[in-house]
């Protein structure tokens, strides 16, 4: 078992044990509940990003979409008096539009997804700041169907979980199915591995990529809504820097940045790992301002490990 997701899993276990020994609070129900509250929000985006990266593209605008979607929904509800259901639908359509624009420009005009989605990041973040004039909005805090659906919570023993965890689990299972067992997954991997070969076999590579951009955008918007409902606030700067964190989760899990090789299980491990690192490092007493150093070092170490494993595999 030298697959990248397996080595990531081993390191995750090691990290959990080390943090658990270093600070007894790390594995306490309260702390685990806390980690599980944050995990799905980035994890859900990471699922879409994994599929997109496997197809050979990536999306830097997810963090900005994470911020914009709830802001637009809340503005519609609070300033325009639109029904929350309709406002959520509008938010969904907005995310679809952003993803479609990303996808069409990348595939039809042929500009790299790095540049297209970097520009989109600026446009979307700028839009969120402008329409709110930079002020956070109070989010929807009246209990109701949608709040329960996206940010309801429940207790299992001493643990308190949010419904977002179900979303993450459900979407994860769906993503595993698609990538490993469905016809579409074969196409996604083939496109990322050798686009010309896939096209030559009649695979509609551009359409697949456009839909993946849309999917990633929609998942980013969904994660943004979940977060806004959970903390009862929609901030125009929410999700800043998430794009890199999400990409880190995906590649730490073993998905290749160059496309062709993707693993959803690896991404779940990667999401857990980054969450545990961020949480554990603070608990063991690393100064808050220094902790990005540690996160960066651990990510780099993971990537070096993957690269070495890959080299070994190629040699044998």
């Amino acid at each position: 078992m030298r697959s990248p997701q397996f080595s990531s899993f081993v390191i995750l276990v090691v990290l959990l044990v080390v943090f658990g020994i270093a600070d007894s609070n790390f594995l306490s129900p309260l702390n685990i509940s806390n980690m599980m509250a944050f995990l799905p929000e980035l994890g859900i985006i990471a699922l879409g990003m994994t599929l997109l990266l496997t197809a050979g593209e990536f999306d830097l605008s997810v963090g900005a979409v994470f911020g914009l979607a709830p802001v637009v929904v809340m503005l519609l509800v609070q300033n325009a008096g639109v029904d929350i259901g309709v406002a959520l639908l509008a938010g969904l359509l907005l995310c679809i539009a952003i993803g479609a624009i990303n996808g069409v420009i990348v595939t039809k005009i042929g500009i790299s997804s790095f540049l297209v989605t970097l520009s989109m990041l600026l446009i979307v973040r700028g839009a969120a700041l402008y329409i709110t004039q930079g002020f956070p909005l109070k989010s929807w805090d009246q209990p109701g169907f949608f709040v329960t659906l996206l940010a309801g919570s429940f207790n299992i023993g001493a643990f308190r979980f949010y419904t977002s965890l179900w979303w993450f689990i459900g979407l994860s299972l769906l993503a595993v199915y698609i990538l490993r067992y469905a016809k579409l997954g074969n196409w996604i991997s083939a496109i990322g591995s050798n686009r010309n070969a896939a096209v030559a076999r009649g695979v509609p590579a551009d359409a697949v990529k456009i839909w993946l951009f849309i999917l990633t955008s929609v998942l980013a918007g969904l994660a943004g809504m979940i977060s806004a409902f959970r903390i009862s606030a929609a901030s125009p700067v929410a999700g800043t820097g998430y794009e890199l964190e999400v990409i880190a989760m995906v590649v730490v899990g073993g998905t290749a940045l160059t496309g062709g090789r993707g693993t959803i299980l690896g991404t779940i491990v990667g999401a857990l790992m980054l969450r545990a690192i961020r949480n554990g490092i603070v608990l063991v007493g690393v100064p808050g301002l220094a902790y990005n150093i540690f996160v960066g070092v651990i990510i780099l170490a993971m990537l070096i490990l993957h690269a070495l494993l890959q080299k070994n595999a190629a040699r044998s």
Binding site: Y181, A182, K183, N186, A190, N194, A197, A198, R201, G202
Partner: protein, 258 residues
């Protein structure tokens, strides 16, 4: 009598001001290996890309088994029984052999789910193993092995067997022996002969004239977007073909040198 499988009539294709294909006509018969020769920029690639549906032609007609067809995509070409094997671009290295063999034509369960339909993995593997056995490479290769672990010759064999498996009428081989070792090259040429015996028609694009004389029945030479010569291999020789490709009369030069 050998039946006509593919007929191209007056194909024309321009890219901006460049007339890549001026007036190309050719016929391919059943169980025939035709070599398409020409220098770089002669229009060979444009011609095969037009047949395999990479881009549409500007003018001209394509007939498959006597029926006029229009080929607007690679998918349509495949559905008409035209399979093209490009050097190095035919396989996805990160996918297994089995998944590559069926790429774009995956056997699935629950077909109504469309692209979300689950792959019939058992069928995929069985069919791939049977195919690898049939083409005589079962001993070495596992259907689940990643293509990235294969040698160039093995990859070419996989791509060729894939084309044969789908009972393609016309198999287009684009520089199939480029970057291959001596033994691998012979393997590929043996494959070409097998294809002919199995009744497939082969259009072979190559720079290596020796290979042409080893496997082809007929030779078609292109120069500057036009077909300038068509000869049966039995009626010609290496020097004549070389002079046809370059446009210079090499045999006259040789005589003078003597």
């Amino acid at each position: 009598m050998m039946q006509e499988v593919l007929r191209l009539q007056n194909l024309q294709k321009s890219f901006g001001n460049v007339r890549a294909l001026k007036n190309a006509s050719l016929t391919l018969k059943e169980g025939e290996v035709v070599a398409l020769l020409g220098d770089n920029g002669a229009g060979k690639s444009t011609l095969i890309k037009a047949i395999s549906g990479v881009f549409p032609i500007d003018r001209g007609d394509i007939y498959v088994r006597g029926e006029k067809v229009s080929i607007r995509s690679t998918r349509e070409a495949m559905d008409l029984g035209i399979e093209t094997i490009h050097q190095d671009t035919s396989l996805a290295p990160d996918l297994s052999i089995a998944r590559n063999l069926f790429l774009g034509r995956e056997p699935v369960n629950l077909k109504w789910l469309g692209v979300f339909a689950p792959l019939d993995l058992a069928k995929l593997r069985d069919a791939a193993s049977a195919l690898l056995k049939r083409v005589g490479i079962s001993k070495k290769l596992d259907a689940d092995a990643l293509v990235s672990t294969l040698s160039g010759g093995e990859r070419q064999s996989i791509a060729i067997s894939r084309a044969m498996q789908f009972a393609a009428k016309v198999i287009i081989l684009d520089e199939p022996t480029n970057n291959l070792g001596v033994e691998e090259t012979h393997g590929v040429l043996r494959f070409v002969k097998e294809m002919r015996e199995a009744g497939h028609s082969v259009l072979l694009i190559t720079h290596n004239i020796h290979h042409v004389f080893e496997v082809a029945d007929r030779i078609i030479v292109m120069r500057r977007g036009e077909i300038v010569a068509e000869q049966t291999v039995a009626d010609t020789d290496l020097l004549t073909v070389e002079s046809l490709i370059t446009g210079a009369d090499l045999s006259a030069l040789m005589k003078r040198a003597q």
